[in-house]
């Protein structure tokens, strides 16, 4: 019998003295009998040398080796089928021992270190933190490099490293936020409107030239609404903030179909013709109706209307001239606008904000705003001075408004002490408060003007580790840390006063309070941040822009389709969460959200308008569930081709929660040779003939084949499109567009464990036959997102409990969010 050197003295290489654990004799014998044939010093197959691997579970990497040994045994993957098999009781005994050891080690680590390593905020969290704290709408995330995804999410501590760049950027972002919070000049909140006549009057020559006229009191446009030609714009806004844009209009000659009106933002750097549409509203046909949107608009910029469905101005005017058509003879689709109005900035509750803005009050309380010239020491008012309101912008820029404090020292101290606990999301010890008060006193004493000293110290506060880090200590999270974790989970931002009040009362961890707070947070508009952030990362929707479909292969693709597809998935997630519907609906549902563009794309019965509506799906639609959403089908393709490998990998990771194993290290790499393989099926079969490739592909490829009947933009297909111009032409359904037909798509495949599916519907049924797998995956994803750490060995029973409870609650998604929040992993660091 070989000696088993499991207990080896710790090497000097280790950072801390580590003690390896005892391995009982039975376990040693088991390893020797069933594992060492391949995984010993001499052979160390797959790079694993169990003989020398220390049983040192405090060492993260060694622990992960043992975890994978446990899983391989547990899943029956090891020992390999052709090798000697342990008797079931023998194997169970070994697994039970190893499982206990791994659990104990994992729990011990969690108790000592906390299961979530200390982490900084993501760039989105930092942006929301400053926005909520200062009541501003400034974009800040682009100051920072993109955060690295770890375990699929940007919130996972392992990926959130600090580069020197970050420290510079926190300061820049905080500076920008603080400047935006204080208006440079006085302004009146905007409340303005234009009627039809005024719209025409703004640009009569261009409008007339491109097919516009007045009809009674309405402005009628026949060509599309595009900046800078036929642009119907609101006023420029005085200040960055939320604005409500309201339009009273009517679609004419649209076959009684609602007219889709787009709202775009005209940015300082917008290019002519096609600013991006940020919201769609359906205007009724043949009778005037009023629609409105709330948009974030940057100071000095404006909203412009976009009429996508109207033909290009050159087409319209050419036709009108050629046929010598007068306005009263025109009977093609057009848009009549009676009024466009804008109001804002708006407060959180939707009402108009008063001057000075909330953002100013958040920092300066009730101090007055004065031109800087009037705040100089020794200033005495000049009776002949121009009243400030009459100044122009240049004069204001030269002498901007600043906060004025009759007694700067007193005001500064009070404001700093008030702001600190809000910014740090917890009470701030006196000593720490004093360090900031000392800073500003020193600055004022040195002669720095009040406003500059304040901005400097507030910037310091906003760059403090108490803002940038989530401050959690090992063990049970105390009230403030819990409030903070909950807010960053469900709002992707900081806790509000109500949450902090619960933290102060110390009752947040009580089940009924926690329950009620989760409901309150989920019902708040800020929950949209969670829905969007989680969905985008879980389903990879961040990549929606990553590829542009080949316009020769997919001429029907347009931006509206992409925007609608993304909206479908977002609406879908929201609906499931709001209704506490079953998470199995992510795999299959008999409903979805569509607008007319998507309904046409999916070749489904007509839906009117561009606003998304919940619709029931016909039984034979092949749609339902996120796998068949155009958004998901687009992000899993490259714009020209689909790959069952990429789509299969996506389903494994995102839906089944399986990370396909990496190819074994010591297997010689064989370059796949797919020459002579015409179809993707034959190509992949050939690919899998190499054992190195097969180990992953046998798992990854089959789910991908289930989606083979969907093209790169999520359309249903029975054949592949080809760039070959000599290929036969086929007309697309509900369209005049023709495409070139290539090979036929073969439907169906077999799963890794040999179950056959004939098409995507049957594959979805196979998925639904194992609901626990789907629930486990979603629970794992939610835990990872919510806690900033992936599921660890000791967490596994807890996940199983959530799955079990979820099953008894009909797999409701909202219930699962509650379960995650109530779980040990959420309540402890």
């Amino acid at each position: 019998m070989r000696l088993f050197p499991l207990v080896v003295a710790s090497l000097a290489l280790q950072a801390s003295p580590l003690t390896a654990r005892e391995v009982p004799k039975d376990a040693r014998v088991f390893l020797e009998n069933y594992c060492f044939d391949c995984h010993d010093k001499a052979t160390h197959k797959a790079g694993l040398n169990l003989e020398s691997l220390r049983f040192d579970l405090d060492h993260k990497k060694t622990e992960s080796f043992w975890v994978s040994c446990f899983d391989k045994l547990d899943h029956g993957q090891m020992p390999p089928k052709k090798a000697d098999q342990p008797a079931p009781p023998e194997s169970a005994k070994f697994r039970s021992w190893l499982g206990k050891e791994l659990t104990a080690a994992s729990l011990e680590r969690q108790a000592k270190q906390g299961r979530t390593p200390v982490r900084r905020l993501t760039r989105f969290e930092y942006e929301n933190t400053l926005r909520d704290l200062l009541h501003i709408e400034t974009e800040l995330k682009d100051f920072f490099p993109e955060d690295t995804l770890s375990d699929g999410f940007d919130k996972v501590a392992e990926g959130l490293s600090f580069s020197p760049v970050h420290f510079a950027r926190y300061q820049e972002a905080a500076d920008k936020a603080l400047r935006d919070a204080v208006p440079e000049k006085p302004y009146a909140p905007l409340k303005a409107s234009m009627d039809g006549k005024q719209i025409m009057k703004a640009n009569p020559d261009t409008f007339s030239k491109f097919g516009s006229w007045m009809k009674d009191d309405a402005f009628v446009l026949t060509s599309n609404l595009f900046f800078p030609y036929t642009a119907v714009k609101t006023q420029k806004v005085p200040r960055t903030g939320r604005y409500r844009v309201t339009v009273t209009a009517c679609g004419l000659y649209t076959d009684s179909r609602p007219f889709p009106l787009g709202f775009s933002l005209l940015r300082a750097n917008s290019l002519p013709d096609a600013p991006e549409v940020v919201a769609w509203r359906d205007v009724p046909a043949d009778e005037f109706g009023t629609v409105s949107v709330e948009l974030t608009i940057v100071a000095g910029e404006q909203c412009v209307l976009t009429g996508w469905t109207l033909p290009h101005r050159d087409v319209v005017t050419g036709k009108q001239k050629k046929l010598k058509i007068t306005p009263d003879q025109w009977t093609e689709p057009s848009l009549a606008i009676r009024e466009i109005a804008i109001e804002g900035p708006l407060t959180d509750s939707g009402g108009p904000e008063t001057y000075p803005p909330d953002s100013f009050k958040q920092i300066y309380g009730d101090l007055a705003l004065r031109p800087i010239s009037e705040t100089q020491p020794g200033f005495s008012p000049d009776p002949k001075a121009k009243p400030p309101a009459k100044r122009n912008d240049a004069e204001w820029a030269a002498d901007p408004l600043v906060p004025f404090a009759p007694d700067p020292n007193v005001a500064a101290e009070k404001l700093v002490r008030q702001f600190l606990p809000k910014a740090f999301r917890r009470p701030v010890p006196e000593e720490l408060q004093n360090s900031y008060v000392d800073r500003i006193r020193a600055s004022l004493t040195a002669g720095t003007p009040f406003h500059a000293a304040m901005r400097s110290v507030f910037k310091t506060i906003l760059c403090s580790p108490h803002v940038v880090f989530l401050d959690e200590q090992p063990g049970k999270l105390e009230g403030y840390a819990l409030a903070t974790r909950l807010a960053y989970f469900l709002w992707n931002g900081p806790p509000d006063e109500a949450l902090l009040a619960h933290a102060a009362q110390g009752d947040l961890a009580k089940a009924e309070v926690l329950n009620a707070e989760v409901e309150r947070l989920l019902n708040h508009p800020k929950a949209a941040r969670f829905e969007r952030s989680f969905t985008a990362q879980w389903l990879d929707l961040n990549k929606i822009n990553a590829t542009a479909p080949d316009s020769s292969l997919y001429p029907e693709f347009d931006r509206i389709l992409q925007d609608s597809a993304l909206a479908e998935t977002e609406h879908f997630f929201h609906e499931i969460l709001a209704k506490n519907a079953s998470l199995l609906e992510f795999v299959h549902s008999d409903w979805t959200f569509l607008n007319e563009r998507l309904a046409r794309h999916y070749n489904l019965p007509d839906v009117r308008g561009f606003e998304l509506q919940r619709v029931s799906l016909p039984v034979d639609s092949h749609r339902g569930g996120v796998l068949t959403h155009a958004s998901v089908l687009k992000v899993t393709a490259d714009g020209a081709k689909t790959s069952p490998i990429l789509r299969g990998k996506w389903i494994c990771e995102r839906i089944l929660g399986i990370t396909p194993p990496a190819p074994p290290e010591d297997v010689k790499k064989i370059e796949p040779d797919i020459r002579g393989a015409n179809t993707i099926r034959v190509q992949l079969d050939k690919h899998r003939s190499s054992p190195a490739c097969a180990s992953c592909h046998v798992i990854m490829d089959p789910p991908g084949f289930a989606l083979e009947t969907f093209d790169v933009i999520g359309g249903w297909r029975t054949f592949y499109r080809t760039p070959d111009s000599k290929a036969p032409k086929v007309q697309l359904p509900q369209s005049k567009i023709t495409v070139s037909k290539g090979l036929d798509v073969e439907e169906g495949y077999d799963t890794a464990d040999g179950r056959h599916f004939g098409n995507v519907d049957e594959y979805k049924k196979l998925l639904l036959s194992e609901p626990d797998v789907l629930a486990r995956n979603l629970a794992t994803k939610l835990i990872t997102y919510a806690t900033g750490a992936p599921v660890q060995f000791a967490d596994r029973p807890l996940v199983e409990q959530i799955v079990k409870d979820s099953r008894t609650h009909g797999f409701g998604l909202r219930t699962m969010v509650h379960q995650v929040v109530e779980s040990r992993v959420f309540l402890e660091k």
Partner: protein, 428 residues
């Protein structure tokens, strides 16, 4: 877009730059080329380094010749660089020993296989990359110690000594602004104030995080310690920026587009990045650049119907290989153009090309097989004794780190080791 290929920089270019903006002595761009060519070859002058990284390999059968030396037979790809024959060296049989897959990317310039050294408390721990190491040694005299620019990559390529990844600036317009566009006097004054504040904010940050760390476990403490090294570097950056605030930025005759080109616009994007890199050297704004190029998506090249990633995983399918070659040829043409513009840029009595070590490398040799042996490694410029094609054993590769040591020495850095080096490569 106005791309100026002319090499003698217009005098106006410098006049507008202001008196103190440039370390002019070694820039000789204003002399007519014939005159400067008459000058004797320089023995000194600033050394520079640019690392160009592409992450999907180069199709080996189209790249590597069989004949070693300057008289190598032209291959499909090398013919695109034929005008530069003699001023570059292509290496066969060189790789990072022991690398095997996509994850070789973060180790391309560190020479250390990251998963072998992964520290349990630092999931993405690597060691210092070549650009950062060189920048530490020779990056002191310029406005920017180094630049990390280009298309974003899946894993980072630039790593600090403590193993923190340095993010890539992916917006060429932003890089251009940073290098060449001055702020208004008010902005400059604010900048000075900002830098001053910045140092004080960092001091406060360190103190508060130390207090915070005291309540944390050992693993978190080491994460915070790691962060301190980044803070120290941020402080150094502030000091450096402060010393440059009163110097106007150099002005260049170059028009950047209003918007950054899409990733699909491969030619526009690579031209822009290469030009910005060249201008950054030409104005001595920095001496070390890491430029990442390539994109897994589908470039907007005429006739291209698939993404780069898809084409690179060709499985020997000839149609796919054709598509791959279209992309790689476009990239090599851009690289050739870069070499040309570097040669046309005079620097003192030398050229920017001869002063600059240019490395074009990929962490994959064959993306289709995910292999990392026989990497496509090409060194140009830099004043080396270029050999055309250096042929090492394709079965038993030479460590790429040995070439890095050679490069360090050429850059005037007295190093005997780097990454996984076992010696120094003396071929060039």
């Amino acid at each position: 877009m106005n791309i100026s290929l002319r090499s003698p920089i217009e005098r106006r270019t410098f006049l507008r730059a202001g008196a103190i903006s440039l370390a002019l002595p070694f820039l000789n761009g204003m002399l007519p080329r014939s005159l400067s060519a008459a000058q004797p070859k320089p023995v000194s002058g600033p050394k520079r380094l640019i690392l160009v990284a592409r992450n999907l390999g180069l199709h080996a059968p189209f790249l590597f010749p069989e004949t070693p030396g300057l008289a190598y037979e032209n291959t499909r790809y090398l013919s695109l660089l034929d005008e530069h024959r003699g001023s570059f060296t292509l290496f066969s049989g060189v790789s990072h020993i022991g690398y095997n897959d996509h994850k070789s990317e973060p180790g391309l310039f560190t020479g250390v296989r990251w998963d072998k050294i992964k520290d349990p408390t630092r999931e993405h721990h690597n060691s210092i990359s070549l650009d950062q190491y060189v920048a530490e040694q020779i990056g002191g005299a310029t406005r920017y110690r180094n630049l990390v620019i280009g298309n974003p990559v899946q894993w980072h390529l630039s790593w600090t000594a403590s193993g923190v990844p340095v993010p890539t600036e992916k917006r060429p317009t932003e890089t251009f602004k940073q290098l060449f566009i001055d702020g208004s006097p008010t902005e400059v004054a604010q900048e000075i104030q900002r830098l001053h504040e910045g140092k004080s904010i960092l001091d406060g940050f360190v103190q508060e995080s130390k207090a915070m760390a005291a309540r944390l476990g050992a693993e978190d403490k080491s994460r915070i310690d790691l962060m301190f090294t980044s803070i120290r570097e941020a402080e150094q950056n502030l000091h450096r920026a402060e010393s440059w605030t009163n110097s106007a930025k150099p002005k260049v005759e170059y028009t950047v587009p209003a918007k950054d080109p899409d990733f699909a616009a491969i030619n526009e994007r690579e031209t822009l990045w290469y030009d910005i890199a060249r201008l950054a050297f030409q104005t001595d704004s920095t001496r070390v650049i890491l430029l990442t190029l390539g994109d897994a998506g589908r470039a907007n090249l005429e006739g291209l119907s698939m993404g780069h990633h898809d084409a690179s995983h060709h499985g020997k399918d000839e149609k796919k290989i054709d598509q791959l070659a279209m992309i790689e040829e476009a990239e090599l043409r851009q690289f050739s153009r870069f070499l040309t513009t570097m040669k046309q840029a005079q620097e003192g009595s030398s050229t920017l090309f001869d002063q600059t070590t240019i490395l074009n490398a990929s962490n994959l040799s064959n993306a289709s097989a995910h292999t990392c042996q026989n990497l496509p490694i090409l060194v140009a410029g830099g004043g080396y004794k270029h050999q055309g094609h250096v042929l090492h054993d394709r079965q038993n590769n030479q460590p790429l780190s040995n070439l890095y040591v050679r490069m360090l020495q050429q850059l005037g850095i007295e190093s005997q080791t780097f990454g996984a080096s076992t010696g120094v490569m003396t071929d060039i």
